[in-house]
Symmetry: C2
Subunit: 360 residues, 2 copies
């Protein structure tokens, strides 16, 4: 089988150009006689790669100089503990907005370290919308406010940035970082597992305002201390070098295409095509409120769940892969991150229309 369109939620599709370059350089990076995987992280070649990765990410997102960019391991799941361990700074309470599975995980883990005030929740409607800020009940003395701008499983996205005044805003952007321009200065801390819109699994990026770090809870492991990583330019220990290199190739690809303004346009066009078709069809249904629909993860159901298996079988044979929905929601989910071209979404819509005509 040739390359397929991969709608997986993560690890997810990567740009073909990135994979081709990684392939071509696999045994010998730019004539140095070794693979990037074989380089010392403290050698000149890899230090150059790492510096470029950070510079390109800073350029793409316009990250202000008073923010540190950390390249860590352990995924967003480690951040669920690292954030409170580092950002409580003597306070006892945090505000977290609950919009689904991933916010719930952030809540559960934070509760080991502090009192969590669930400032808002969309549980009343099966996590199918993003609560508007007039519904949020923030605490008097929260160390920070945490939310999940895009819920990968539920397909719910905030299309606005919450206003939290002087209280630092923390965001788990694992599944929508780099999908469009972002005003980083509105945030205290942003984290993102790489395996959706950045690169391979095993890398986690943290962008943090530097005045917020350096006051960890007692008992915090050294490797969970942002300040340690910041002071060592993410080289306190051996970083996941190859994953960093691939992320760097993705950043270069984004820059070549025109940066995040261009991705914004492309992601809007892809989402408009898919949601437009879903809404015009009486056969498929998207459970998410229109103002909260994710541009990255599009869950939908078929009129008759008995057809799910046939839908998955046929779509797979047409080179449309990994469309099965998360087990908690059932149905289907099409993840259409940056690397998914409009042609892939068009191919999906074409197939869905055919399938509807046959089975509707």
């Amino acid at each position: 089988m040739e390359r397929i369109y991969n709608f997986g939620a993560g690890p997810a599709a990567l740009p073909e150009e990135v994979l081709e370059q990684a392939r071509d350089e696999m045994l010998n990076w730019q004539g140095c006689g070794m693979s990037v995987m074989e380089m010392s992280h403290r050698g000149k070649d890899f230090m150059g790669i790492a510096a470029q990765v950070e510079a390109d990410l800073r350029g793409l997102l316009g990250i202000p100089a008073n923010y540190k960019v950390l390249f860590l391991q352990g995924g967003a799941s480690s951040q669920f503990a690292m954030v409170p361990m580092n950002l409580l700074r003597g306070k006892k309470t945090v505000d977290i907005v609950n919009t689904g599975v991933w916010s719930q995980k952030a809540i559960d883990e934070a509760e080991r370290y502090c009192t969590v005030n669930v400032a808002a929740s969309s549980e009343d409607a099966r996590f199918s919308y993003a609560p508007t800020q007039d519904k949020w009940r923030l605490s008097q003395d929260a160390a920070y406010v945490h939310y999940t701008p895009n819920e990968t499983i539920g397909g719910v996205e905030f299309h606005w940035i919450p206003e939290t005044g002087s209280v630092p805003l923390v965001a788990d952007m694992s599944s929508n970082i780099l999908s469009g321009p972002l005003d980083v200065s509105r945030f205290g801390l942003i984290y993102a597992g790489a395996q959706k819109n950045i690169g391979p699994a095993g890398l986690c990026i943290v962008i943090v305002r530097e005045d917020l770090i350096g006051q960890t809870l007692p008992g915090t492991p050294t490797m969970f201390d942002y300040k340690i990583h910041a002071d060592h330019d993410s080289m306190y220990n051996t970083p996941p070098t190859f994953s960093l290199y691939i992320a760097g190739l993705v950043f270069k690809w984004l820059k070549r295409l025109g940066g995040l303004a261009e991705m914004d346009k492309r992601n809007n066009a892809k989402a408009a095509l898919l949601y437009g078709y879903l809404d015009s069809s009486g056969f498929y249904h998207c459970p998410v409120a229109k103002d909260s629909r994710s541009r990255m993860n599009v869950p939908f159901t078929l009129k008759d769940a008995a057809l799910d298996e046939e839908f998955l079988k046929q779509s797979q044979s047409r080179g449309l892969a990994q469309l099965k929905g998360h087990r908690l929601l059932g149905g289907m989910r099409a993840s259409i991150y940056n690397p998914m071209p409009l042609e892939g979404v068009q191919a999906l819509v074409d197939f869905m229309r055919e399938f509807e005509q046959k089975h509707g």
Copy 2:
């Protein structure tokens, strides 16, 4: 430049066959239409890869059924905290043997969680030997005994396994795992960062006797709980999928060559060649006691440190790379892990002999 001989201490050389296969499969793994990097970790293809990786590692090391094999992130540096956080089990003291930089790091981190008894130390001779067990002073009630079977920086290796009775023995085998056969049943826990003898940086392997896990310290992050990872077959969160895949290719390569008995022979032959030459020369000097010399990391100095720069320049131009010693020791270090062929060591010795004749 063609492929060079890479003597780096880690990230280190990988077998060329492994890199070739990774290159060939980069865009399309076994006809599935995607890269391993793009696969869902919960999909059939990747689950198959992961199961094979574990089976091959279990086969190579003969890991008993009552040991869990965990594929984690965060390197040995995270293990320095995870080990006490999981293995104290109500006790207050641990015994750690100090043989250099890496044991010292294990000591410093463990001291955050318990009382550390330094059971033996070779600091009296600049960490140039492995203290024999008759010199160890073990505590009455230690939760475990920790040692570093191979010190990557000092080039000191234990060629015997300590006897600790019913007290679990914990070993940081980052730089000598898989270098020869091992009786895993002698250990309570073994950990190893992958980037030396296993695969790419960003993967850390833990082998732990299952009765030792499940009693973490209060405040332990979920991601630092061995039991969580064991109960989820290392898929509690997204694992570093591509690094696991590469490690699997390395394990297949080891099996094709004849397994760890064969690696043992090869590593003995390489070490004999290099140490034999060092000892016959009046120009080079290895500071490590003969009975404690590492088969993996060979530090040596030149008669005149003023020649270091010239040595590095000339060796690099001959395709002998990353020979610079660690900044703490100065001089040179040749790391000759499994992937380094005898021909590479021969090429190094030939060059060293020439250099000696010219400058000696």
